[in-house]
């Protein structure tokens, strides 16, 4: 047992924790970053071209052995360890929490890097405006965010600039820019890198969308399209989602903010150390965190400021085991994405194995315009993304159209002709924050260190199915226009309930009685505790969340640095006592 002290203790050095680590270490604070996973080095991914290891066997994802999570459909049923994630042939990192390690989920992610729409920050207002208050479902908490798009815009721009994001602007300061997403919220400037090369079969999708009067555009990606220092431009190997990058093209925090933070000399990283608890003193302030190292020995780390930056699910688990839940709001308003997977076959080869998945373009014609199509049975829209890269053979082959025999000569013919001509489309209808979907501690299941597992109570509802049917009909229309020879859909209520896009559980809000953190992710209950990440999202947009998570992290860092000054809200809370600069 040892005790370490730092000005700031950050739990989790992933997509957001690593941003706080750099911002605060550069500001002269001594930062201790405690990371459950390993600290990978660039050369660790030179030989990453291995679908079995990294995708099918979920090589860098958390395991249900070490990080068990249980699930049940409703509060009356018995929870079990994620049934879709255990058993022979069950592996798919897409239905687990994101990768562990320094860099966190930004190691494995597929690198769609969207800003949210302005409307996504005011979901309640949008619903009420178009459908009236009565449209808000009973038992739901659909609210406006305590931060607006305009407030977050400079931080989005900062993320894009500082980690490297590629794309084509569609709206700069209100001016529509040809070739980009005409629906996007106004940007203060262009992307720092031009779009990555489109997927091999992207053109038929673009042509079909244009023919139908939609507005296809290259989606923003946190993959650099041109060399940047020692990081190389994407080489389109196609081992991208679930893998680290062998050329450093993926803008993970491991390759961006972490090296910069380490260069200050103010960041110490403790990898392979799992935080088990936040210790709160009698005066209501967080004193320290307790953690176990790789040998299983327990230690304590004290900090003036403690920042929980683990995954949303783990942040919630830590708050609950630490008894930081006076108002009972922790674990509530759990939201996730339903991808409504759509697969098809084209007449010619598509090279679905080549290039990043995010090389497929998208359309946003059905996102914030949903109210033009909805009879009130669904309350949000989604972009449609063409998905025709980054699909390696085992995953690809196992996604079979209905009616194909699973063995014998017909199955072999399927293997011979289907995979090479495959394409996909997906969308991201978010579940609504409703009371029946929530997180708590499992009363029985423990991790190997004796800590309670998180329990997810979640089921797909009528909203998810109605929205899925609507958006899949549009995918059907696009596929037909593309000349697809066969298409098939995943169930509208798929058997999995974790999609690497888990949100809520420690939502932000102005009102300390019904939210967990402020708009700056500061705990209402423990003033020197911040809890950041997707768990703070009070509602969920239809976009991949990392850009917003990171913009919010920059905003939190800005708040801490500002308020720590004399006269600020954090003055006297945090000092630079141990800093080296």
């Amino acid at each position: 047992m040892t005790t370490k002290h730092a000005d700031v203790v950050i739990v989790g050095l992933g997509a957001s924790g690593a941003i706080l680590a750099r911002e605060l270490s550069e500001a002269g604070y001594r930062v201790l970053g405690i990371e459950k996973g390993p600290e990978y080095q660039p050369r660790d991914f030179w030989m990453k071209f291995d679908e079995l290891r990294f995708s099918i066997r979920c090589g860098i994802s958390p395991t249900m052995d070490n990080d068990p999570i249980t699930w049940r459909a409703n509060a009356k049923s018995e929870a079990a360890i994620l049934p879709w994630a255990v058993g022979p042939g069950a592996g798919n990192p897409l239905f687990l929490p994101p990768s562990l390690g320094v860099g966190g989920g930004s190691i494995h992610y597929a690198c769609w890097h969207w800003r949210q729409m302005a409307e996504d920050f005011r979901m309640r207002s949008v619903v009420v405006e178009h459908f009236g208050e009565d449209a808000l479902p009973e038992g739901s908490r659909i609210v406006d965010w305590p931060v607006s798009y305009d407030e977050l815009e400079p931080f989005y721009a900062q993320v894009e600039r500082e980690i490297g994001v590629s794309g084509q602007a569609g709206n700069i300061n209100g001016e529509i820019v040809p070739g980009g997403n005409p629906f996007e919220a106004p940007r203060s400037g262009p992307f720092p890198f031009p779009p990555i090369r489109p997927s091999a079969s992207n053109q038929p999708f673009v042509d079909a969308c244009n023919a139908l009067g939609y507005h296809p555009f290259p989606v923003p990606t946190s993959i650099i399209s041109e060399d940047w220092g020692e990081r190389k431009a994407c080489v389109y190997c196609g081992f991208c989602r679930d893998y680290g990058c062998h050329v450093g093209a993926k803008s993970s925090t491991q390759d961006t903010t972490i090296p910069a933070a380490l260069a200050t000399g103010n960041l110490e990283i403790l990898a392979n150390c799992r935080v088990q608890r936040v210790n709160v003193d009698g005066d209501g302030r967080a004193r320290s965190v307790s953690y176990v190292d790789a040998k299983g020995e327990g230690h304590e780390a004290t900090g003036d400021l403690i920042i929980l930056a683990a995954y949303a699910l783990e942040n919630v688990r830590l708050l609950l085991v630490s008894d930081i839940n006076a108002n009972g709001a922790v674990g509530k308003w759990y939201t996730i994405h339903n991808y409504h997977w759509f697969s098809g076959i084209m007449p010619q080869d598509t090279m679905i194995y080549a290039g990043p998945a995010a090389g497929g373009w998208g359309i946003d014609d059905f996102n914030t315009t949903f109210h033009e199509y909805s009879d009130g049975s669904f309350l949000m829209g989604t972009p449609i993304m063409f998905f025709a890269g980054d699909t390696q053979p085992i995953e690809g082959v196992k996604n079979m159209p209905p009616g194909v025999p699973m063995w014998g000569s017909e199955f072999k013919e399927y293997l011979r002709t289907n995979y090479r001509r495959r394409f996909g489309m997906y969308s991201q209808i978010a579940t609504l924050p409703v009371e029946s979907n929530f997180l708590d501690l499992d009363p029985a299941v423990k991790d190997p260190w004796g800590q309670p597992a998180l329990r997810i109570t979640h089921d797909w509802g009528d909203h998810d199915k109605a929205a899925g049917r609507w958006i899949n009909d549009i995918k059907q229309q696009i596929a037909k226009e593309m000349g697809a020879v066969q298409v098939w859909e995943a169930p509208l209520d798929p058997p999995y309930h974790v999609t690497t896009h888990e949100h809520g559980g420690h939502v932000m809000g102005h009102d300390p009685s019904d939210s967990v953190v402020s708009g700056f992710a500061q705990s209402h209950e423990v003033p020197n505790l911040f809890v950041i990440g997707g768990g703070t999202f009070p509602t969920l947009s239809a976009y991949n969340p990392t850009a917003t998570i990171q913009a919010l992290a920059f905003r939190t860092a800005d708040y801490i640095k500002r308020e720590a000054q004399a006269g600020g809200a954090l003055a006297g809370t945090i000092s630079r006592a141990t800093a080296t600069v």
Binding site: E39, D50, G238, Q348, Y353, Q392, P393
Partner: protein
């Protein structure tokens, strides 16, 4: 039958499973399938290592498969004609082979099926997909360092592109490290991964004794 030796499966178990995977993806030398890809070696090595938790499921499943073959056709599964084998595979898939616990024989079929696909399409480093025949079957060029704009055209034919494996990537990394990402500036501190200490000899003996060793 596999040209490599087995390290977990017994002789008859390997013969039965090899025959089973050969019915899932049938083939011959001119048009290889799961047997020609050496899927049995993949499964055997996986069971001896990362898939050890399914050793008993395999052992028991093969025993029941052969028992069913003996009862129905008076011979073990591997010795049956392709037609008779297919009848039994169909019965496995539809839960009609008796004796299986849990959800019945369909679970065993699903497990072997999933591992057959893995053995057919994982890198040859894992023992299956011999000479990349699984990848050639489906039209996948393997572990390519990257693809050019010319490669990535709708309708282009990459079936003549030489297949690359993990071993080839290893050679490339050795010969041309400049093609890969490295960090020289802002060099991070050395990896702090702590390796658990080896259990003491005393503990090892205690463990062995408690397990009846």
């Amino acid at each position: 039958m596999s040209t490599t030796g087995q390290i977990f499966l017994f002789y008859d178990e390997a013969r039965a499973l090899d025959a089973l995977v050969a019915r899932i993806v049938p083939g011959d030398e001119s048009d290889p399938g799961a047997r020609e890809a050496d899927v049995i070696t993949y499964i055997d090595r996986a069971l001896a290592g990362p898939y050890a938790e399914w050793q008993l499921a395999y052992r028991e499943g093969v025993r029941l498969l052969d028992a069913h073959a003996l009862e129905q056709y008076d011979a073990k599964f591997a010795a049956l004609s392709a037609g008779d084998q297919d009848a039994i595979v169909g019965a496995l898939e539809t839960n009609e082979v008796p004796g299986f616990g849990g959800n019945g024989s369909a679970d065993f079929f699903a497990m072997v099926w999933a591992h057959t696909i893995e053995g057919l399409l994982a890198d040859p480093a894992y023992g299956g997909n011999r000479d990349g025949v699984g990848w050639k079957l489906i039209g996948f060029p393997g572990a390519q360092y990257g693809y050019s704009a010319d490669d990535m055209r709708y309708g282009a034919d990459l079936t003549t592109k030489p297949i690359m494996t993990l071993a080839d990537i290893g050679r490339l990394a050795h010969d041309r490290p400049d093609l890969f990402y490295a960090r020289s500036g802002a060099l991070p501190t050395p990896s702090r991964q702590e390796v658990p200490e080896m259990p003491s000899r005393e503990n090892t003996l205690d463990t062995a004794r408690s397990q009846g060793g």
